[in-house]
Amino acid sequence: MSFAAIIILTGALTAISCALVGSFLVLRRTAMVGDAISHSVLLGIVTVFWLTNGSRNEILMVLGAGTVGLLTVYLIELVRSSGRVREDAAIGLVFPVLFSIGVIMVSRFPQTVHIDVQHVLYGEIAFAPLRRLELFGADLGYRSLWVLGGMAAINLAFVTLFYKELKLSTFDRGLAATLGFAPLALHYALMGLVSATTVVAFDSVGAILVVAMLIVPGATAYLLTDRLGVMIALACGVGALSAWGGYVVASAYDASISGAMATVAGGILVLAVLGSPRHGVVVRAWTRARLRRRFDVRLLVAHLAGGSDPDHLSEQFRWSPSTVRRTLDLALREGYVERRDGDRLTVTPAGAALAAGTDTGR
């Protein structure tokens, strides 16, 4: 495999792992919890690093980070349920504390080369092709593909197995609880996977950009469909597309690969905001303009049917002459009005029917 293919595949697997769990964060309106977890897991990573005297055992790191991730979620819930502060404030109170402890611990290891703030915050996906996974002396291939492929598989298994339960507890937590589906346990399981995903994504995109990967694909897909299953699939697609597009952009401009991936994901989100079939800015503006034209035509026809002089319409409605001309053209084209005896405007039967259904305000 070429270097480019490995980097793109690593990015895509990262994005897919994140999109699978991130879609549920978007739907639960807890996107900021993803942000909190992605920061506070640093503490878990550093603690494991410290306890094991600097080994970089991936499994231990994931477990450590998962624990701190769950601790974060638990503390947020604890602060929130005290009733003194709202959830956003609770998030803002909890994660900087855990994150800052992590940062202090990182800075206490100046001699270590494997862990540094820069790396943790921004990641370095370009190193992916250089790392091999060795087990009992055997070379199994590219480490990042194994680790992130495994994470993507675990997340896919979780979302597939518990699809019905996740859907119900996300949409209506109360009903999920009354039916005995343990929404709290599911919530912690989901957050545990978010934590684990964040850790394994560190090497590729770092603690800050992983938030973009968790939230942006899900938010984009949310705009494009109104089916949950389709949304999750689309989110994975958007994530993979961002990984590929990000690599292309980064190569072209010699920029940070992870930064470019997040930027491309953001670009796709902007396109979705503009072009979404139901919520999109373009569609909404177009629908509004079309409705407005229809109302203008009805208004015009109704006033003509009521005997108004077309020359005074522009004054009456405060329309510009060009609006009058355009509306009149449209009314003529749609057959509500016709020109008889040279230039006289006459309302057709279709026009009369349209006018009858219109309140002209008189």
Binding site: L27, R29, G83, L161, F162, Y163, K164, E165, K167, L168, T170, F171, D172, G174, L175, A177, T178, L179, G180, F181, Y222, T225, D226, R227, L228, V230, M231
Partner: protein
């Protein structure tokens, strides 16, 4: 089992659908429900009435095990809720869920059958057909595949009712199903309540419109943190009890609504 006091029983010997004893629920130090003692009679339509903040929704949630109980005992058909959940259908307040969720009306109705399916099993054709018949019963069959945010408030409420029907329960607990619905939906809900009653189901409804209580319900429980009174509408829905429930807080209660209430219950 031996240590437990005997289950309260109805006159025909069966257990009450809901039996609440000495219930206290508090959020932090403020009691929301105080020493509630209430039996809901089987096969009856019961309204729970009281001012805002009286603890009506909290009582339903306590019955369903959704809020922690400070003290007291709640039994559903003579057993704890955990063991009886299959016999209970719950219609939460419409505003309690996010209607922008990417799903369709029939999908929401199918959620009512998740309890019967249990963990892991996915709904199939049988569940879809059943959900469709539930939607038909509330007059929503033609909107089955509509995205739920595209439905009006009344239509959303009817989707929730269809979902409760899909649960095929013996006891239906509804939190303000009449809140903010159009006339068509109000009629649909009333017809549904009558049909449930005819099928021998027990229905408990948190209700806000005092005027319609005597028309729609047989039993009423008047609640304001404490239980003021409970029993048949004709006996309990009196101006005195209403005044005790609402206090002086709603001025028209004494004059207008109480007059309506006594006129109706005298009928």
């Amino acid at each position: 089992m031996i240590d437990r006091p005997p289950n309260p029983a109805t006159t025909d010997g069966g257990a009450y659908p809901i039996s609440v004893r000495d219930l206290i629920v508090a959020y932090r130090s403020t009691p929301v429900l105080w020493d509630i003692h209430l039996d809901i009679r089987p096969g009856r339509l019961t309204a729970i009435v009281g001012p805002n903040g009286a603890g009506k929704s909290t009582m339903l949630k306590a019955i369903l095990g959704l809020v922690p109980v400070s003290s007291g005992r709640i039994e559903i058909f003579g057993g704890p809720y955990r063991e009886m959940r299959r016999q209970v259908a719950y219609v939460p307040q419409r505003s309690s869920v996010d209607w922008d969720f990417p799903t369709t009306a029939i999908d929401v109705v199918m959620m009512g059958q998740y309890g019967q399916l249990g963990w892991f099993r996915r709904p199939g054709r049988r569940e879809r057909e059943n959900a469709m018949s539930c939607l038909t019963q509330v007059g929503m069959a033609d909107l089955a595949s509509r995205q739920i945010s595209q439905l009006s408030g009344g239509q959303q409420q009817r989707v929730f009712l269809a979902r409760a029907l899909a649960q095929a329960a013996d006891l239906y607990i509804m939190d303000e199903p009449f809140a903010g619905v159009d006339a068509v939906t109000e009629r649909a809900i009333v017809e549904l309540l009558q049909r449930l009653r005819a099928d021998g189901k027990t229905v408990v409804v948190v209700h806000h419109d005092l005027q319609t209580v005597p028309d729609y319900f047989e039993d009423v429980a008047l609640l304001n943190v404490r239980l003021i009174a409970a029993g048949p509408v004709a006996e309990v829905f009196t101006p005195d009890n209403l005044a005790a429930t609402y206090g002086g807080r709603i001025a028209f209660i004494d004059a207008e609504a109480a007059a309506v209430a006594s006129a109706r219950s005298a009928r």
